[in-house]
């Protein structure tokens, strides 16, 4: 039986452990992607959100076997992009970060929302980010930041 091969942040990698291991744990412990947070391990909080083949997923709910041949992007990879620079700026500008634990997942969810819909309404942002919980901000600052990113990053998404 061969290793599990996939692309992580643009780099081909392989994993020799069990197919039932959690993507969340492997990203943190094997590949040192510490942006990926463990909040609930049941798909309820979004702190472990990453992109898998371009789609937002909860890495706690993915078995390693399902990553075979796929393209995984975590915040560590996304932060090198122009889109990230816009989100970084507006999250700071709107004080959309307090304790910061949910923030990597929020940024990945924001990227997913804007990639599908470059000019979302407020309701569409709230729906798109509805799987990401934040105990600090009360959400308005985050939603406003994403709406501002849509304006400032015009043409990037």
């Amino acid at each position: 039986m061969s290793d599990i091969s996939f692309t992580l942040n643009g780099r081909p990698v392989s994993y020799g452990g069990s197919a039932t291991d959690r993507l969340l744990d492997v990203l943190r412990d094997t590949f040192d992607c510490k942006s990926v947070k463990c909040g609930c391990k049941e798909g309820e909080c979004g702190a472990c959100s990453v992109l898998m083949d371009g789609k937002l997923i909860n890495s706690c709910c993915v078995a390693m076997g399902a990553t075979q041949g796929s393209d995984i992007v975590t915040l560590e990879g996304f932060r090198t992009t122009e889109r990230y620079k816009v989100l970084d700026k507006v999250f700071a500008q709107f004080s959309a970060v307090q304790c910061g634990f949910c923030t990597p997942g929020m940024v990945m969810a924001a990227e997913s929302v804007l990639a599908q819909n470059p000019h979302p309404t407020e309701d569409e942002v709230r729906e798109g980010m509805s799987g990401n919980l934040c105990r600090c901000t009360g959400y308005n600052a985050i939603v406003n930041a994403v709406l501002a990113a849509a304006k400032e990053g015009n043409g990037l998404w």
């Binding site: 039932t20 291991d21 078995a63 798109g128």
Partner: protein
């Protein structure tokens, strides 16, 4: 790969399923919560045979590994199903969760399964021994108990496509998103020339399986809307008498009250 098999096509998957003690894995959103790392998964999420949405004269056929997000984007999937599926969890779960998984998990809270009950859908399963098509209400034998042999794989949902436009759907959850159903309700009421031609009511999340009572539904079929209006209190009372609900995350009394309120609201919304 340790603890996992990667079939390249359906025949290979069925062969592996007949020879090994494996659990089919499509989206993983339920299996990973169960957290049983010593299981061996049969990864079927990318099998082309399970990934299609198609239609024939009678049915929209939704492959077992079609995700909820994909169904929401498909012009073939009826609005009734889309409305229920759009309320499942949140985008990241809908990007991974599948119709086959919603069935295979065996829960009466499964939001897509409620619509399958309300519309009289059928489930197609396959094994090396052949294929079977089973009405959804027979596929569920009890709580977490399915008419699915260890060597059988769920292939597709056959969702009737005619006569399901006049639907009513309501999900009661603890919050807007990321909410498991406390009570879910879906029904159909079709009227032709003032006469009720079809009436179905499915109640989810209130017992071991989704509930339907065909004999109680028959009370309204063949009646005019006016006759039905006169009979609505009696119909609701007949459900009150029949429904034996269990306690879950919420009390049996709460579940029953909400079910009957939703039934009343459904009828009222149709002028009954």
């Amino acid at each position: 790969m340790v603890n996992g098999f990667y079939p390249q096509n359906l025949d290979e998957a069925l062969d592996l399923l007949s020879k090994h003690d494996v659990v089919p894995y499509a989206g993983g959103t339920d299996l990973m919560v169960q957290d049983k790392p010593n299981q061996t998964y049969l990864f079927v999420g990318k099998l082309p045979e399970l990934r299609n949405i198609s239609e024939d004269d009678e049915y929209v056929r939704i492959g077992a590994a079609v995700t909820f997000t994909e169904a929401l984007a498909s012009p073939l999937v009826p609005q009734f199903m889309k409305e229920a599926v759009s309320r499942i969890a949140a985008p990241a779960i809908r990007n991974a969760g599948t119709f086959g998984g919603n069935l295979g998990n065996g829960s009466a809270k499964a939001d897509s399964v409620l619509v399958e009950y309300a519309t009289g859908a059928k489930i197609c399963v396959a094994s090396v021994r052949g294929e079977r098509v089973i009405p959804v209400e027979r596929f569920y034998k009890g709580r977490k108990e399915l008419d699915l042999a260890p060597d059988e794989l769920i292939l597709e949902v056959l969702l009737p496509k005619l006569g399901i436009d006049d639907y009513y759907y309501h999900k009661v959850g603890g919050r807007q998103a990321l909410a498991i159903s406390r009570v879910s309700f879906g029904g159909l009421l079709s009227v032709e020339d003032g006469v009720i031609t079809r009436f179905t009511c499915a109640f989810g999340a209130v017992s071991g399986t989704v509930l339907r009572y065909p004999d109680l539904e028959a009370q309204l079929v063949g009646r005019t809307v006016e006759e039905a209006r006169g009979a609505s209190e009696k119909v609701i009372a007949s459900y009150a008498e029949r429904m034996q609900l269990t306690r879950g995350r919420v009390s049996a009394e709460y579940r029953k009250d909400v079910c009957l309120n939703l039934l009343g609201d459904f009828l009222a919304s149709k002028g009954i």
